[in-house]
Amino acid sequence: MTATTPEARPRSARAVTWTRRRRSWARTAKAFGRSRSGMLGLGIFIVFALLALLAPLLFPASELDVTKATGPIFGPPSLTYWLGTDDSGRSVLALVVWGARISLLVGLCATVLSMVIGTSMGIAAGHYRGFRGGALDRLTDWFLVIPYLPLAIVMASVLGRSLLNIIIVIGVTSWPGTARLIRAQTLTVEGRPYLERAKALGAGNLHQMGKHVLPNVMPLVLANTTLAVSISILSETTLSFLGLGDPDAVSWGSILNSAFSAGAISQGAWWYLAAPGVCVVLVVLGFNLIGRALEDILDPYGDGA
């Protein structure tokens, strides 16, 4: 370390770290590529993501306007309406494709929120000892034991029905599981000698958590995120089905809700119920496959790699 070498390779500590991380990413990506089920899940996700992004091109927004619907009421699947029509004569296919936008958006945003809360709570609870750590831990416990659905319903009713609120409701109610997981991992990371060294060199709490613990729990966070997305999407479907979603936004849950209240079951309009239902199942399956594959690769406790 006495003088700079003439080599062009960056030598700063940061650059070294990033090079290592890039390699680690590449290794993960490669391992993921070898996982057949993981790639299947990714494929499903990409298909739905494309549908969601291209929805305005595939079906103009006016197809969702009940006043402009021209189809038959509860028309079965036909060449014109591939997935049949709803009780207002709208194409169920158009509804499902537009529904993918909201379902995926809410699912992803709520997961990000839940992950941010869960990870910071988990790391903090694992890092701090004594009263502060205990308090954070009890708070996590408290959220963990509150029955999820009633809490979400109460929150959604109090906050009012909008897209942002449903994201908040799901995010705020689904973080404790992640926090638990991250806390456990934080404890093992904190037990390692180099953290001891960092402490001895005068690293503060934030530095220890941000620079040392966080990068080490990140793989776990990532694996957990993909699994949490499917739960968020199911939660969004549940809440929208219960009529707590944004009434202006078509999501899979709200399609199921309108199918249910419009009497689709009595009418035998199976396509109205099955289409959004199958979509939910597929997307949830996709995220679970991705999550599982990632977990196998990244989870420090896993048996996969």
Binding site: S24, D65, V66, T67, K68, I73, F74, D87, S88, G89, L149, P150, I153, S157, R161, G177, A184, T188, N216, P219, L227, S230, I231, L234, T237, T238, F241, L242, G243, P247, D248, L256, N257, S258, F260, S261, A262, G263, A264, I265, S266, Q267, G268, A269, W270, L273, A274, G277, V278, V280, V281, V284, L285, N288, R292, L298, P300, Y301, D303, A305
Partner: protein, 620 residues
Amino acid sequence: MRSSTRRTRIMATCAAIALVGGISTVGVVSAAADTPSPSASSTDSVLNVGILQDIDSANPFTGVAASSYEIYQMMYPTLTNYAAKDFSTAPGIATSWTESADHKTWTYQIRPGMKWSDGVPMTAADAAYTFNRVINGKYEQTNFGNYVANITSAEAPSPTTLVLNVSRPTPNMTHLAVYILPEHIWKNVSESQVQSYKNEPAAGQTIVGGGPFLLAQRVVGQYIRMVRNPNYYGKAPALNEVDFRIYSNGDAMGQALKKGEIDFADSLEANVFNSLKNVPGITTVPAIYSGFDELAFNTGAALDTGKPIGTGSPLLKDVKLRQAIGWAIDRQTLVDKVLGGLGTPGSTIIPPLYANQHLDPANPVTYDPAKANALLDAAGYKMGPNNVRVAPNGTPLSFRLNGRTNSPSSMKTVQYIQGYLAAVGIKATVTNISEDALTQKIGEGDYDMFEWGWVVEPDPNYQLSTFTCANRSYLSGGSITANLSDSFYCNSAYDALYDKQGGQTNPDERIATVKTMQQMLYDDAPYILTYYYDDLEAYRSDRFTGFVPQPAPNGALLFQYGTYSYENVTPVSATSASADSSGVSSALIIGLVVAVVIIAGLVFALVRRRPATGVDDDRE
């Protein structure tokens, strides 16, 4: 009789929905899960009626829900009734009545020898007690005050004579829908207790009443048991019992009727109703009805003192804007798509069922978006950015629109209204909330527009009173209390006419006044009526017969102004045993499969996390 009810057509609020959600993610609720079992007996003389709305109170001074009024009129008699055939006046406990020459006194002859269900004689004294209680009460006025507005006092000079003294000639003295209560029970319920008095039966005891059936048991959200009153003054009903079973979902109720768990289903949604047609053993009745739904505006919320309240958009005070909206709404499509064609486009607030009072406006407002646009342009609402018009003062025409989560029809209607308004450059932000929450918001003037409806009584007085200045919200103990007016319409000319019709004893003159008032409301547009709906009813004609429609021949079979069907229904002879073999429909199976798959997905997602048993493989 139940005009004080804003009728809630479907489904209970979040609590019930939460229950459904607890059962399954997709919410395919099997009918069985929803069906209470009031009694093990399934004898033929028990009529099981499926309803979608629980009663809100068994106390007639408190309840406002349509179902509550059905219970009240089964339990308690009235002086006079509305005839089943044509809503004309028919004897109740009063057999005849006379008005004094000076129009200041009405004398009713009360049937002799009547008894309450507990054996205590039922006399004119009970009637006088009830009327005086309403006249002198405060809380008692809420539901019945409008009937006794002109009555100064009630007297019972003999057990068979009731005298009502009135301050001026009064047209509706033969339509007093005040339930006569047993004095020996209610005198123990003080003025301070009455608001919280539940009037629900103790174990094994029925409520003391004088109508054909008595409340025997109530389980909130599940069922209401009514048993026959042995001391009923009229013809003894063939039914031993009428059980009301409460469903939270119309589909489940339709399935229950198919499977024979209930014998009668009321207030069905069009889609469920249509699926019951042509089912063997079931007769469907699209009954003409006295209900309408409307798009209501906040025309300038204020207290009865005139002090402005609430958050309503001031733009909606402009009658030209409201009129233009009237031209933007396709009422026929609403009837076709929301009601499945089982209704008629709405116009004025007295429904065409009451043909002699209903006004068919000479200047009908129809669906004409071009005209709506032209009217808005002329009124100075120029098209602004994003296809939303802008008022001359720069405010965009963007309003809140509330639908009701309790009613699928309502939520569907607001979707259409939102689309129609967008087409003429008016932005509506839809929020569906529970009827309880909406009532609160309306009372406080915290709204722009909403969708709701009324069931209109044969006598127009009550309905007309919902637009008077005096019936706007009022201050009670420092907080704003909702009254009947939900549009905050206030027009002194209208109030004068309302007062005038309240004293017009010549029917033709009164009807002329009532029609003028309807025209006034039609032109000022505090409401835009969307449709008059049919009451969609279906029953097991293989089990029961003898339902009496009101009015004849195609009116409602239950939920009438009277208890005619309950008194006349008889079981079909036991020869045709009900065929229960129909089984479950394929759609239900598919729905269940989807539910199971989704639940499985959820379980899979949750169980995914394996226990952390491995050792740290130190991956960095």
